[in-house]
C-alpha cells in the first residue's frame, strides 16, 4: 500500500443552471480514483456551491497512482430522474509523485463537458502521501522526472545522458467498439478521454521503469503521440532521452547569467556517485518476472556501460589523436545502445562534436494487415525497422549517434506512413559515461576554441564520402574540412558563429494520387514518396540559396497522406554559418538557346533572382568578411550539388530502396527550365514574400542573430481549413493553393501581431492534415517575442567582440560570471555620456519595465525595493510607456469619429483573481529565470457538438474549443503552483465536421512542462548600469538589497 491520495472538494462557481424552474442547480461531486468513488453532499439551490468536503482518502498502489487519473464529476441532483452530469475534471497526479516537483495541487479547475465545453469551475485540493517502497521488483517508476523540453532543463545539470527510451501501448478505440452504437456521444467521448489518460499514464510509468533500469532519473525531450488507427486500435507511443540530472543548488539557479550548464558544473561540487570500477550491465529484465500487467514486449536499450579501459580519459591533448580517441570512446559508449538516438535539440557545450546531416526514413504500412491488432508487437517491429534504418544512415555518414530525433505518423483510412528523422552526429562521450566527467572537462577547456566551429566539420572520411560533396576548409579555423551546406534537425548550437539573422524557410508540395485500396494504394504512395522527398529537398536548397544562407536548422519534413493526394511540408530556419563557405547564386539555364525572346525571358528571370538574393542579404544582414582564396586553399574539385539528406522508403513488403539525391553531374546551382513545371517552380521561388519590416520568423527556439529579447510573449494557435474546388485539380493548381494557404496564414499572423513589432515569431510549427477529400487543414502554433531593436543593432556590431570575450571567460574562471553577465545584457562599449547613459539604462531595464506594463504580477509590487534603482526604473517605465503610446496613435487612424463616443477615464484596474499563466513552445521565458519544474502537462480533450451553427459554425466551435484547452492547461499549471508552461506543444488537432448534420468533433492533445519562473530581479538592473569591472561587487550588492 505505498500511497495515500487525499482529495478535498472545496467549492464550485459559475455553475450552469440545471433546473429551469428555479434557475439554480443542486450540485454534488463524485470523486473517483481507480475503482473507488466518494461523493460530497448535495449543495442545494446554488450556482456557487460551498461543499467544503472532508478529505477523501484513497489507499492505492503507486503503480495505480502513475496510471490512473483522478476523476472528478460534478452532477446535478435530481430526486425523481437520473442525476444530470454537469461536467468532469481529470487531474493527472503524476507531478505529486516526485519529490522536487509540486507538493499539492490546489486551485480552480474548469469543469469540462465534451458536449457543452467548460461549465463553471470547481476548487479542489489534492495531496499524496508516498511511503518509501524499496521493492526491487516493483512495477512503478515514481520519482522519474519527465520533461517535454528538448534540452537539459534550465535548473538542472546533466551528469550523464543515457540515451533513447521508447515505449508503445495499444488498446481498442472506444469509438469503434460495438457499444458505441448504443451509448451517447458524451459517454463515448468520455470513455476515450479516460482511456487515453490511462494509457499515457501507463506509458509514462513503463518508460520510467526503463530509465530506472538505465540508472537514470529523468526523461528529457519526452514526446508522446497518439495514433488514431481507427478499427485497428488506438496507439499511444512515446520517445525520450534518459538522463541523470542533478538539481542545481538554488542560489546558483537564481543568479541571472548562469544558465550555461558548463559554468555551473565547475562551480557546483561534483556530486555524483563514486564510480565503481565496473558495473554489471546485465541487469536482469525484472519486469518480465512479474509481467502479468504488461501487454507488450520491451525493447530495452542496454544501460550505460562504464568503459573501464579509458580511465579518466585525459589522454588526448592534440586535436588529431584526441579526435580519434574521442571517436573510439564515443563509439564504445554508443555501441552498447540499441539505438544511439537523442531526442534533444540543444546540448550542453561540448557535447556535440560533429554534425553529419539529416537522416530520415519512412515506411508505408497497411493497418488492416496487423495480425493481432490489440498487441503492440507489430507496431514495435515497424518502428524498430525504421530506427534500424536511421541508425545505418547515420553510420553511412560516419556518425555514431542521431540527435534531434523525432518520429511521426500520418494515417488515412488503412494506410499509415511512419516517419523518423534526426541529425547524424558525433558526440563527446563525457556525458554518456559515468566517471569520466572531470577528465573531459579539462579537455574541453584546452580544446575550447575549435569547438565553436567544430560541429560543422565533416565527421565522415573525406576520401570515402557517403555522397558526392563539395568540401572546403573551415572558414573559421581553416584546419578542418566543412561541407558547403548543412541541414540539421537540431537547434543552432549556442556557441556557433552566425552572420546576420536567420529566417523561416518552407518547402511546400502537393502530389495528386489516384484513389485506391489497400496494397495498390500503399504502392502508389511508396512510389510517390521518393519524388516528394526529392522535390522538397530541391525546394529547400533553392530557397536557402535565394536567401543567401548556407545552413538549415530545426528541419522538419512532414508528409501527410490523404485520400487522393500527398502533401509535403518542410520547415526549417536558414542561417549563414560563418564557418561554412559563401553560397553561390542560382543560375538559370534554358533548354532552347536559339529562341531570342526566350533567352530574354531567361535573363530577365536571372536578374530577378539575383536581385532577390541581394535584397535578402541586405534584409538578413548577411555580410560575411571577404576572405581571399589563397588562405582557404583551393576547394576540392568537381563541384556538385550534394544533399545532406539520406533517406529511404520501404513499403509494407520491407523492401528498402535507396535513392541518390545528388543531381548527377550537373553544375551546382543551375536550375534548368525545360518545361512549364520548372517555370512554375522558379516563379514560386520568387513569390515567397518576406515578413514585413520589424518581423522575423524561425522555427527554432530562438532567432539566430537576435539576443536581446524583452519579456513580452504571446503564444498562439491558428488553424485554417480550405476547401479545394474539385474541378480538374492539377498538381500545379494544388501546389499554388497550398502555397497560398501557408503564405496567407503567415501574412495574417504578421498582421495580427503587428502591435508587438519589433518581434520575432519563434518555434513556428506548421502541421498539415487532410481531414477529407477536398479539405486541407493547416495548424500553426508559435510564440511571438518582442525584442529591443536598438540593442539588436549594437549587438550585431559587437558580435565578434562578444564571442571573443566569451571565449576568454571560459579560461578565466574568476571573472567568468560577471563577464558573461555583462556581455549578455549590455553591449560592450565605454561608458556613454550622462544623458545617453540614462537612456541606455532604460533600454536595458526594458525587461522589468515592460514586464510591469504588460504583466499583472501585483504581488510583486509590494516587495519591490525602494532604492534609487526604483527611480530609474520608473523613468524607464515612463519612457517605455510613452513610446508605446505613440505607436498606438499611429495606428489610430480610426475611421470612426470620437464625436459621439463618450470618453471617460478608465476605472482603476479591478483586482483580478485569476493569475496570469504564460504559455510558450520555447524552453525558456525571456527576461525570467525558471526556478522549478513542477511536472509534465499532458492533456487530451474531445469536444463534440450537435449544434454547430448555433455555436458560430466551424470557426466558432474550434475557436471556443482551443480557448478552452488553453484555459484548462493554465488552470492545471496554476493549481500546481506554477505560472508558466514551457515547451508547450499541440501535438494533435483532429477536426471533423458534418455540416449537413450540424455536427462537428475535435480532438486535441497538448503537452508541456509546468514551471515556476521569477522575473530577473532588480539585481540585474544594478549590474547592467555598472561598468564591466565593477560588476562583481555590484552583483553582491544587489543580492543584499533584494
Amino acid at each position: 500500500m505505498p500511497g495515500k491520495l487525499k482529495v478535498k472538494i472545496v467549492a464550485g462557481r459559475h455553475l450552469p443552471v440545471m433546473d429551469r424552474a428555479s434557475d439554480l442547480t443542486d450540485a454534488f461531486v463524485e470523486v473517483k480514483f481507480g475503482n473507488t468513488t466518494f461523493k460530497t453532499d448535495v449543495y442545494l439551490k446554488s450556482l456557487n456551491p460551498q461543499w467544503n468536503s472532508e478529505w477523501f482518502k484513497f489507499e492505492v498502489d503507486d503503480e495505480d497512482l502513475q496510471d490512473e487519473p483522478l476523476q472528478i464529476t460534478v452532477l446535478d441532483h435530481d430526486t425523481y430522474s437520473a442525476n444530470d452530469a454537469i461536467g468532469k475534471v481529470y487531474i493527472d497526479i503524476d507531478p505529486l509523485l516526485y519529490s522536487e516537483a509540486a507538493t499539492v495541487i490546489s486551485g480552480w479547475f474548469p469543469i469540462y463537458d465534451t458536449i457543452h465545453g467548460i461549465r463553471g469551475e470547481i476548487n479542489v485540493v489534492v495531496k499524496v502521501d508516498l511511503f518509501n517502497d524499496l521493492n526491487r521488483f516493483r512495477q512503478s517508476s515514481c520519482g522519474v522526472k519527465f520533461f517535454c523540453t528538448t534540452s537539459i532543463p534550465k535548473c538542472y545539470r546533466a551528469v550523464i545522458i543515457h540515451g533513447f527510451v521508447e515505449e508503445l501501448v495499444v488498446n481498442e478505440d472506444p469509438e469503434y467498439q460495438w457499444i458505441d452504437r448504443i451509448r451517447t456521444p458524451r459517454a463515448s467521448n468520455e470513455a476515450r478521454q479516460r482511456l487515453i489518460s490511462l494509457m499515457s499514464g501507463e506509458l509514462q510509468r513503463k518508460i520510467g521503469l526503463k530509465v530506472l533500469e538505465m540508472r537514470g532519473n529523468a526523461v528529457v525531450g519526452y514526446l508522446q503521440c497518439f495514433d488514431l488507427e481507427g478499427e485497428s486500435g488506438l496507439v499511444v507511443r512515446a520517445i525520450g532521452t534518459a538522463c541523470t540530472l542533478d538539481k542545481l543548488s538554488s542560489p546558483a539557479a537564481f543568479l541571472p547569467a548562469c544558465n550555461s550548464p558548463s559554468k555551473e558544473m565547475k562551480e557546483s561540487p561534483l556530486v555524483h556517485p563514486p564510480s565503481h570500477g565496473c558495473r554489471s550491465t546485465h541487469n536482469s529484465p525484472i519486469h518480465t518476472a512479474t509481467g502479468s500487467r504488461l501487454t507488450q514486449n520491451f525493447s530495452v536499450s542496454v544501460p550505460t556501460l562504464i568503459y573501464t579501459g579509458m580511465g579518466s580519459g585525459s589522454a588526448g591533448k592534440e586535436g588529431g589523436p584526441f579526435k580519434a580517441l574521442l571517436r573510439q570512446q564515443t563509439q564504445s559508449a554508443l555501441e552498447q545502445r540499441e539505438f544511439p538516438f537523442f531526442t534533444l535539440t540543444a546540448f550542453p557545450p561540448g557535447f556535440l562534436v560533429h554534425v553529419g546531416g539529416v537522416v530520415s526514413a519512412r515506411s508505408v504500412k497497411l493497418l488492416d494487415r496487423i495480425h493481432n491488432p490489440d498487441e503492440p508487437e507489430t507496431r514495435d517491429a515497424w518502428w524498430a525497422e525504421i530506427r534500424q534504418e536511421i541508425k545505418s544512415h547515420a553510420k553511412a555518414l560516419g556518425c555514431h549517434a542521431v540527435v534531434g530525433y523525432s518520429e511521426s505518423t500520418s494515417i488515412c483510412e488503412e494506410v499509415c506512413i511512419l516517419s523518423a528523422s534526426g541529425t547524424a552526429a558525433v558526440l563527446n562521450p563525457r556525458f554518456l559515461q559515468d566517471g569520466t566527467v572531470e577528465g573531459c572537462l579539462e579537455q574541453r577547456l584546452e580544446e575550447n576554441l575549435p569547438t565553436r566551429c567544430g560541429f560543422c566539420h565533416i565527421p565522415y572520411d573525406e576520401l570515402n564520402m557517403p555522397f558526392p560533396a563539395h568540401l572546403t576548409y573551415c572558414y573559421n579555423c581553416r584546419k578542418q574540412k566543412v561541407p558547403d551546406v548543412l541541414f540539421t534537425t537540431i537547434d543552432l548550437p549556442t556557441d556557433a558563429t552566425v552572420i546576420g539573422k536567420g529566417c523561416l524557410i518552407q518547402a511546400r508540395l502537393c502530389r495528386l494520387k489516384k484513389k485506391a485500396q489497400a496494397e495498390a494504394n500503399a504502392t502508389a504512395i511508396s512510389n510517390l514518396l521518393p519524388f516528394m522527398e526529392y522535390e522538397v529537398h530541391t525546394q529547400l536548397m533553392n530557397k536557402l540559396k535565394l536567401k543567401g544562407m548556407n545552413a538549415l536548422f530545426g528541419l522538419r519534413i512532414q508528409i501527410t497522406v490523404g485520400e487522393n493526394m500527398l502533401m509535403g511540408l518542410a520547415s526549417a530556419t536558414g542561417v549563414y554559418l560563418a564557418a561554412l563557405p559563401t553560397p553561390g547564386g542560382i543560375q538559370i539555364a534554358g533548354k532552347t538557346p536559339n529562341d531570342g525572346s526566350y533567352e530574354q525571358h531567361i535573363s530577365h528571370m536571372q536578374k530577378k533572382i539575383n536581385d532577390t538574393i541581394a535584397k535578402n542579404k541586405e534584409l538578413y544582414e548577411i555580410n560575411p568578411p571577404e576572405i581571399s582564396e589563397e588562405i582557404i586553399g583551393s576547394p576540392i574539385p568537381e563541384p556538385r550539388q550534394r544533399s545532406r539528406l539520406l533517406r529511404s522508403q520501404s513499403e509494407s513488403s520491407d523492401e528498402v530502396t535507396e535513392l541518390d539525391l545528388s543531381h548527377g553531374k550537373k553544375d551546382a546551382f543551375v536550375l534548368e527550365i525545360d518545361d512549364t513545371d520548372a517555370m512554375e517552380d522558379v516563379h514560386s521561388l520568387l513569390t515567397d514574400v518576406p515578413p514585413p519590416s520589424g518581423f522575423y520568423s524561425c522555427n527554432t527556439e530562438i532567432m539566430p542573430g537576435i539576443n536581446n529579447w524583452t519579456s513580452e510573449i504571446q503564444m498562439f494557435t491558428s488553424v485554417r481549413v480550405i476547401r479545394l474546388s474539385s474541378l480538374n485539380l492539377t498538381n500545379q493548381a494544388l501546389n499554388k493553393n497550398f502555397n497560398d494557404l501557408c503564405e496567407n496564414l503567415l501574412k495574417s499572423l504578421y498582421f495580427k501581431l503587428r502591435s508587438m513589432i519589433p518581434c520575432c515569431l519563434c518555434h513556428v510549427n506548421f502541421t498539415v492534415s487532410l481531414p477529407e477529400d477536398e479539405l486541407i487543414q493547416v495548424t500553426v502554433t508559435a510564440v511571438a517575442i518582442t525584442f529591443d531593436k536598438n540593442q539588436a543593432l549594437q549587438t550585431t556590431k559587437t558580435h565578434v567582440e562578444k564571442s571573443l570575450q566569451r571565449a576568454s571567460t571560459d579560461n578565466e574562471e574568476l571573472l567568468q560570471f560577471p563577464l558573461e553577465l555583462c556581455s549578455d545584457s549590455l553591449p560592450s562599449h565605454p561608458l556613454p555620456p550622462a544623458k545617453e547613459h540614462l537612456e541606455s539604462a532604460s533600454s536595458n531595464s526594458g525587461i522589468p519595465a515592460a514586464q510591469r506594463a504588460t504583466s499583472v504580477d501585483y504581488s510583486s509590487f509590494a516587495d519591490r525595493c525602494s532604492s534609487w534603482i526604483e527611480l530609474i526604473k520608473l523613468k524607464a517605465q515612463t519612457i517605455r510607456r510613452g513610446s508605446i503610446k505613440t505607436t498606438v496613435t499611429v495606428e489610430k487612424a480610426s475611421p470612426v469619429g470620437d464625436g459621439n463616443f463618450r470618453n471617460r477615464s478608465a476605472p482603476p484596474c479591478a483586482n483580478s483573481t485569476v493569475g496570469v499563466v504564460k504559455m510558450t513552445p520555447l524552453s525558456f521565458i525571456p527576461g525570467a529565470k525558471i526556478t522549478k519544474y513542477l511536472g509534465i502537462i499532458n492533456m487530451f480533450f474531445i469536444r463534440e457538438t450537435t449544434s454547430l451553427r448555433e455555436e458560430g459554425g466551424v470557426s466558432g466551435f474550434l475557436h471556443a474549443f482551443i480557448a478552452e484547452v488553453f484555459a484548462m492547461v493554465r488552470a492545471h499549471v496554476a493549481a500546481l503552483g506554477g505560472n508558466a508552461v514551457v515547451s508547450y506543444i499541440m501535438k494533435q488537432c483532429v477536426f471533423m465536421e458534418n455540416p449537413n448534420k450540424n455536427q462537428a468533433q475535435c480532438l486535441i492533445n497538448v503537452s508541456g512542462d509546468a514551471v515556476v519562473f521569477v522575473r530577473e530581479s532588480d539585481l540585474e538592473v544594478v549590474s547592467t548600469q555598472q561598468p564591466t569591472a565593477n560588476c562583481q561587487s555590484s552583483c553582491t550588492e544587489g543580492e543584499v538589497t533584494t
Binding site: R13, H14, W108, P110, I118, E121, P692, Q714, M715, T717, V719, R720, V721, I722, R723, L724, D740, N744, K747, S748, F751, K752, L753, R754, S755, Q777, V856, V888, V890, E891, K892, S894, P895, V896, N900, F901, R902, R904, S905, A906, P907, C909, A910, S912, T913, V914, V916, M919, G952, V954, S955, G956, L958, H959, A963, F966, A967, R970, A971, F991
Partner: protein, 337 residues
C-alpha cells in the same frame, strides 16, 4: 479555394481598441473591413484585403464570445477561458457599457420595456446610430436596471459593484435607471436643448435629496423611488409666495447664497418673485404620478417665469430655503433666450 475555417487563438486574448469600437458601433464585417481599408492600414503593413477580412472576422468572433461575459462583468474577471490583462478587462467593460449621447436622450425616462425596444428602429434612423449598437445600449440600460432595481443601498455603489464601471459611468447609469424608474418625460420639444449631462446632474441631486433612501439613511433601500411624503410636504411651500415676509426672507437668503455665483444674478434678483412663484407652483403639484413624470416639462413651461434660466439648474431645490444651493459653479452661465 475558399476558407472553411479560419481562427487565431492567443494565450493572451488580444484586444484591438479600434476593432472593438467598430464592433460596438455595430458595423458589419464588410463595413468594418471597408472602413479599415480606407484607414490605410493595409499600406502600413503591406497586407491584403483578404488578410483584413480574416482578421476582422476573427476579432468579431472573439468579441462575440466575450459578450456573454460582459453581460455580467464580474464573470469576466473570474472566468478562465480568456486570459485578458486587467487593464484590458477594464477597457472592455467600460467601452461595452458606454453609450451615445444621442441615443440616451431618446430613451431617457422611457420605460425599458419591449415596447420601447420595438421603437429602436426609429431611434436608429433618427440618431444615425446602427440598430445593433442601439440594441446593445438599450439592453445595457435594461440589464443594469433589472439588477439594481430591487437592491438596497446606494444606487451608484450597487451599479459599480455589479458592473465594475468607472465612477462617472456608474453615476450616469444611476441617472438612467432613476429616470427610467420614475418615467420622467424628457422627450418633449421644449426639453430638447437639455443635454443628458443636465438631466444626469438633476437626477443625482434628486437621488441625494428627494428619495426615500436620502431622507432616512436607516431605510437604505429605495434609492430609486421618490419620497412620497416629501412630495406631499412640498405643498407647504405655498407660504413662500403667499406670505410677503417669508418671500422677502427667502429672497434675501437666496441672493446671499448666490451672490457672485450666477451670471444672470441681477435678472434673477429682479424677477425673483416670478421665479419663486413658478417654482413653488411646480413643487406644490408633485402629488400625482402623472405630474411627477411631467416635472421637467412643467418646470420649463411657464415662459414668463423661466425665460431667464433653464430650469434644471434651478430645479434641484430640496429644501424650502436653499433653492439654488445645488447650482454648480462649473456650469456655464445659462443662456438668455
Amino acid at each position: 479555394m475558399t476558407s472553411e475555417l479560419d481562427i487565431f487563438v492567443g494565450n493572451t486574448t488580444l484586444i484591438d481598441e479600434d476593432m472593438y469600437r467598430l464592433w460596438l458601433d455595430g458595423y458589419l464585417v464588410t463595413n468594418a473591413v471597408a472602413l479599415r481599408v480606407r484607414s490605410g492600414i493595409l499600406e502600413q503593413m503591406g497586407s491584403t484585403a483578404a488578410v483584413l477580412q480574416s482578421d476582422t472576422m476573427d476579432r468579431y468572433r472573439t468579441f462575440h464570445m466575450l459578450e456573454r461575459l460582459l453581460h455580467a462583468p464580474p464573470k469576466l474577471l473570474h472566468q478562465l477561458i480568456f486570459q485578458i490583462l486587467p487593464s484590458r478587462q477594464a477597457l472592455l467593460i467600460e467601452r461595452y457599457y458606454a453609450f451615445d449621447e444621442a441615443f440616451v436622450r431618446e430613451v431617457l425616462g422611457k420605460k425599458l420595456s419591449k415596447g420601447t425596444k420595438k421603437d429602436l428602429d426609429d431611434i436608429s434612423t433618427i440618431t444615425g446610430i446602427t440598430l445593433k449598437s442601439c440594441r446593445r445600449q438599450f439592453d445595457n440600460f435594461k440589464r443594469v436596471f433589472k439588477v439594481v432595481e430591487e437592491m438596497r443601498g446606494s444606487l451608484v455603489d450597487n451599479i459599480q459593484q455589479h458592473f465594475l464601471l468607472s465612477d462617472q459611468l456608474a453615476r450616469d447609469y444611476a441617472a438612467i435607471v432613476f429616470f427610467a424608474n420614475n418615467r420622467f418625460e424628457t422627450g418633449k420639444k421644449k426639453l430638447q436643448y437639455l443635454s443628458f449631462g443636465d438631466f444626469a446632474f438633476s437626477a443625482e441631486l434628486m437621488i441625494q435629496n428627494w428619495t426615500l433612501g436620502a431622507v432616512d439613511s436607516q431605510m437604505d433601500d429605495m434609492h430609486m423611488d421618490l419620497d412620497k411624503e416629501f412630495l406631499q410636504d412640498l405643498k407647504e411651500l405655498k407660504l413662500l409666495v403667499a406670505d410677503k415676509d417669508l418671500l422677502d426672507l427667502h429672497k434675501s437668503l437666496v441672493c446671499t447664497a448666490l451672490w457672485g455665483k450666477l451670471g444672470v444674478f441681477s435678472e434673477m434678483k429682479a424677477n425673483f418673485k416670478n421665479l419663486s412663484r413658478g417654482l413653488v407652483n411646480v413643487a406644490t403639484k408633485l402629488t400625482h404620478n402623472k405630474d411627477v413624470r411631467d416635472l421637467f416639462r412643467r418646470a420649463v413651461l411657464p415662459k414668463s417665469v423661466f425665460s431667464v434660466c433653464p430650469l434644471p439648474r434651478w430645479l434641484p431645490t430640496p429644501g424650502p430655503l436653499g433653492p439654488l444651493h445645488g447650482h454648480p459653479p462649473w456650469l456655464p452661465p445659462a443662456p438668455l433666450s
